[in-house]
Every structure is written in structure tokens, then in C-alpha cells.
Symmetry: C2
Subunit: 335 residues, 2 copies
């Protein structure tokens, strides 16, 4: 490939090739190549988590959120799923000349609100302005630092084993469909809102209560399917999903059918996958269902040694099929 | 003002208003409002420095550097001038659909080379692709962490006092003129190269050798004049510059005269300002002049209590004038 395509930003197979063939090839080191949601680094006096994300969501305002909310929540969640306690965020704005100052202020207020809810401080920032038609409104980068200690122990995929349970904290695909419907001016009966939310509160509660938790991740770009496929490839284990247990809102399901999308691949911005030893399954689901953003939490599958390196799903019709990572782009500019 | 203008990204007065009226207003906290090049935060077990910068330089390749080199060096330098030892960098790419893969690889290789020279690890990254005409080629955000301890003590402007010396590590304006001449296809006799470089090596040497160092900063966007004006406004001190001592390459001076620019306001990407007690002046200049990027180091001024809150310059003709912060934009998309 000699030109960058939208697929390079999809989070799917082509993104992974780019990461391996260009970024790891030249920039690679032990920490980067772990390819976790946050890097865990030794900052001289102990480990901290460090992460970055750029946000290019289009449109900037959508049902349930805006680019400012997603920029703060996305980075908070990337830190929290590593097991860290998110503490500090930086933000870098790239703004197109002519952008509305009142929209900028709305976005900044939204960032402030999300930062307050998440309990993080925005400690540094940068603003660049580019000419008309040199950017599409506004892009935001947020980078973040989280700390370990106490209940905040470092999680990773290495402890996952056969028999562990796979839990999702709620319905899949809300964010992707909310953004898409706003962008395309589509209506699907009742308005679907993005699930965009800071999850460090409930994640902290789970870490406190359940030593059986092995792994967490937020299934954003590329959805549940892509995220689960990132865990399995080099391991001796696979994941078997149970379709009937996977929560999807009726409106999202209808929109996906209409548009030819699979909710397993649609982005979420306020959901976590938890992989846990079976003993803690019921307790975790109870805590999630009692929390603000986890009312539809469910156990959706199990880790299995029978399908090493694969993610499979048992459909409603009893058929088992492979859930592969997408090659290219399903929904561009979703986050 | 109801629309964002190029001036909001200039680094001058209008940028400072935006920061105060929008960002500090909604996101403000004790750390952010210090407005240093890096935030100094307590990461649970000790202080670290944390910074972010987005790079939108146009063109992406210019004499002496490219967007990858500037993205790494800029963040390394922002950490180092705080007194920290730069350790870890993240990078967030926003790429326009259709961007050349070989140019991407050139940029990534350049980042790797600069990271190696600076001794920093790139530990996390993110790639987003936007459609054609939704960005101008490529933008890069780098965020970074630096650590304190040993020679790496935290510097700040509060210890500066009358009689302290102001040193610059070399010629002013090289970066701005290099980028501008490439962008406009101008030629000024010999090609002027950007000074873009990682300065943490020589900064470390200075920190090790000279306890009299009070403050350092890299005069990037907005140049020397803007950076010095950021130090003085709320303090009881001012800075008196000596024009005849300020090093400027002949080619840069000629280009500035031709274009109506003042080298005091033109961006540098490989220079530091050092403010030190007078006893260390000669030693610092000697170390700088023996270093790779400091051959033209010079003492260019002195801190004075006679001009509180002001930056002034004694010109070659013996006249003294105020060097104010620019209101708006001199050179857009310079970094």
C-alpha cells in the first residue's frame, strides 16, 4: 500500500499492520510493543500508567455527548482499564480558523464537567490554529497519567485462563449508532444516545471488591469483536461468546440491520469488558447493575482452550462461527 | 470575538486571552494555571513533569528537520527546561486519507532518530485517519513525562532577581525562517536550516554544573520576545536586552528585513534561554559553546528592577524601547 486509507484508522487488521510495519519497526521497545491501552512505565519512584488518544469524531456534537466529553472519558477509561487510578490529563487542541468561539466554550465546559465527574485534573494544554479547510472543525488530543497502589493493581491479559468469564457492562453499539445517525441525519424511532461516560468510578469499586478480576478493556473503535481479538492471537486461549446473552438496544439492533452493520464491531465509549475467574462473576454483575452506567451488564461468554487464538460466537440458532477482526473500516471518524 | 482566528494560535496576546477566558475559566486548577512548559505533578510517589504539544508545521519537511523531529524535540525540550529528565513520550497521529506511506515512514524514522539522540522511549501511540481535505497532510501530538532527582531539580521563575543574567544558547529565528522560506519557495542566498534539536543533553550538563541557574525556557512559537514577556508580567522584575549581543545569522537577518519580521519574535526549536545568577554566567556560556547546539551562545541581557513587568531592549543606536508581546500572528503553522 502506498497511500494511507481510511482503513488505516479503523482499528482493524490494516491498522494493526501499520502499527507493526511502521511504528513498531522504527519506534519499537518493550513498553510500546505490549500494545496495551496505557503504557505502564517506571517514573523513577514507582509505576504509573501513561496513555494518549486523538479524537476526530464527526459531528462534534451528537446525542449523549460531544468531542470534549469523549476526549476526557476516552483517556480516563484507557487508564482505568489498566487498573490505574486516572489522575492527570493534558489536552491539545487543533482548531480550524473560523471555528465558533461559543462552540469551543461549550466543548471546554463539557470537558470540565467530565473531568470533574471522573476526578481528574487537566494540568497542561496546547492550542494550534490551522487555516480554513486545513482541518475539519476541531481535533482534540488527550493524554493521561494514572497511578497504582492500594486497590489499583496492574491488570494484564497474561493471567487469563480457560473457564474465566467474559462480562460486558452494558449494551453494545450505542455510541457508533448515535454518531452515525446524527452524521447522516438518520432517525431510528427513538433517538439513540452515545454511552460516552467515565468508568473509573465503577472500575475502582470492582477492583476493590473482586480479586478474581484478570483483565479489563473498553471496546471502543472496532467494537467488542476487535478488542477481544486483540487479546487472543498469541495466547493459547480463545473466547466463546453466547449471542443470546449479548445486550443490544432494540433501536441499535434495528439500525444495524438497516445499515448492514454488526453491533459486535460498532464502537462503544462507556462500556467495559471484564474477564474474571468464575467465582466473582455474579458479584461483579451485581455491582455493575447497581452502578450508573452498568444497568444492562451481563456475562456474555467464557474463555476456552478449545479454540486457541480465536473468538467465536454461538448464535441464537445454535451455530458457532468465528468472529474475526475486521480488515478495514466500518465507521470512520467515530471517536 | 465570535470566531477562532489564526491569531488565537499565535502564542501571542490573543492566545493568552483565549487561555485565560476559556481554558482557565472552565478547566482551571492550581497546576494548570501555573502555565509552565510542563506541569509538575505528584504521581503518587514523587513529582514528575508532564507536557503536551500538537504540531501542525507546514510544510512537513523543511531544511534541518520535519514534523517528526520537531514533535519529539519540542516535547523533550519542554520537559528539560522545567529541570526534569525527559524519559517517555506518546505520539498521536492524525493523518489525511491519501497521505504517502513512504512519507509517513520517513517521519516515523525521523522521530526514532530524535528519540534515540534524546534518550527517550516512545511508549504509546494512537493513529486516526480523516478524509481528504479534512486535515492538511498530517498533524502529530506528542506528550511526555520527565523525572526529577539528582541534578534534575525543579526550576521556576520565582527565584529570578535583579542582576541575574539572561543567556541565549545561539542564534535566533533560524527555525521560523527555514520553514517560511521552504513554504513560500523563497531563497536567501545560502539555505537557512531549522535549529530543531533535542537540548536535554546540554541542559543536563548545565544543571549538573551550575547551581546558580534559576530558570530555563525554549523560545518557540512567538520567539524570544513572547517567552520573556511570559516571565515578567506579574513579577516585580523586568528584563533589559542588549541588541548588539543578540546572535542572529546574517541570512536570517536579511530575510527578516526583506519580509518585515523581527527576529525577536521568530520561532526557534533548538534554543534555550537561561537565567542565572551572575557568578555562573561565564561558565554556562563556556559549556554551551562547547556543546553541539550552543556554539553561538551569548549573554544578551540582565534582569532589572527598574522596569518592573517589562521587557526592554537597548538598540544598537543606544535607544531603549519596550519589547511587547505580539497581539496577533506573525507566522502561522510554524510548529
Amino acid at each position: 500500500m502506498d497511500k494511507i486509507t481510511m482503513a488505516h484508522g479503523s482499528g482493524g487488521k490494516i491498522t494493526h499492520s501499520l502499527i507493526k510495519d511502521v511504528f513498531f519497526k522504527h519506534l519499537g521497545n518493550d513498553i510500546l510493543e505490549r500494545a496495551e491501552d496505557s503504557a505502564v512505565i517506571d517514573a523513577g519512584t514507582g509505576n504509573i500508567a501513561f496513555t494518549t488518544d486523538s479524537f476526530v469524531v464527526k459531528p462534534l456534537f451528537f446525542p449523549g455527548g460531544d468531542i470534549g466529553k469523549i476526549a476526557v472519558c476516552g483517556t480516563v477509561n484507557d487508564l482505568a482499564v489498566t487498573g490505574a487510578d486516572p489522575k492527570f490529563i493534558t489536552c491539545g487542541f487543533i482548531i480550524e480558523e473560523g471555528f465558533s468561539c461559543s462552540d469551543l466554550e461549550k466543548i471546554v465546559k463539557s470537558m470540565a464537567k467530565s473531568a470533574k465527574e471522573a476526578g481528574v485534573k487537566i494540568v497542561a494544554g496546547d492550542t494550534k490554529v490551522v487555516g480554513r479547510n486545513e482541518a475539519d472543525g476541531m481535533f482534540i488530543n488527550t493524554s493521561g497519567i494514572g497511578v497504582f497502589g492500594g486497590k489499583n493493581r496492574r491488570l494484564g491479559s497474561s493471567d487469563i485462563k480457560a473457564g474465566d468469564k467474559v462480562i460486558i457492562s452494558g449494551t453494545l453499539g450505542d455510541h457508533g449508532i448515535a454518531v452515525l445517525s446524527k452524521r447522516q441525519g438518520l432517525e431510528f424511532g427513538s433517538e439513540i444516545a452515545s454511552d460516552c461516560a467515565p468508568l473509573n468510578g465503577v472500575i475502582g469499586e470492582l477492583m476493590e471488591g473482586f480479586a478474581g478480576i484478570k483483565f479489563m478493556r473498553d471496546p471502543t473503535r472496532g467494537g467488542l469483536a476487535t478488542t477481544l481479538n486483540e487479546i487472543t492471537p498469541d495466547s493459547g486461549i480463545g473466547i466463546m461468546l453466547e449471542e443470546k446473552n449479548i445486550p443490544v438496544l432494540d433501536g441499535v439492533r434495528g439500525a444495524c440491520e438497516l445499515l448492514g452493520l454488526d453491533p459486535l464491531y460498532v464502537a462503544n465509549e462507556g462500556k467495559i469488558i471484564v474477564i474474571t475467574s468464575p467465582a466473582d462473576e455474579a458479584g461483579i454483575i451485581k455491582v455493575l447493575r447497581n452502578s450508573k452506567y452498568g444497568k444492562n451488564a451481563a456475562c456474555i461468554g467464557e474463555v476456552s482452550s478449545d479454540i486457541p487464538g480465536k473468538v467465536c460466537i454461538r448464535t441464537r440458532y445454535g451455530v458457532t462461527r468465528i468472529v474475526d477482526m475486521l480488515t478495514a473500516e466500518q465507521l470512520p471518524r467515530i471517536c
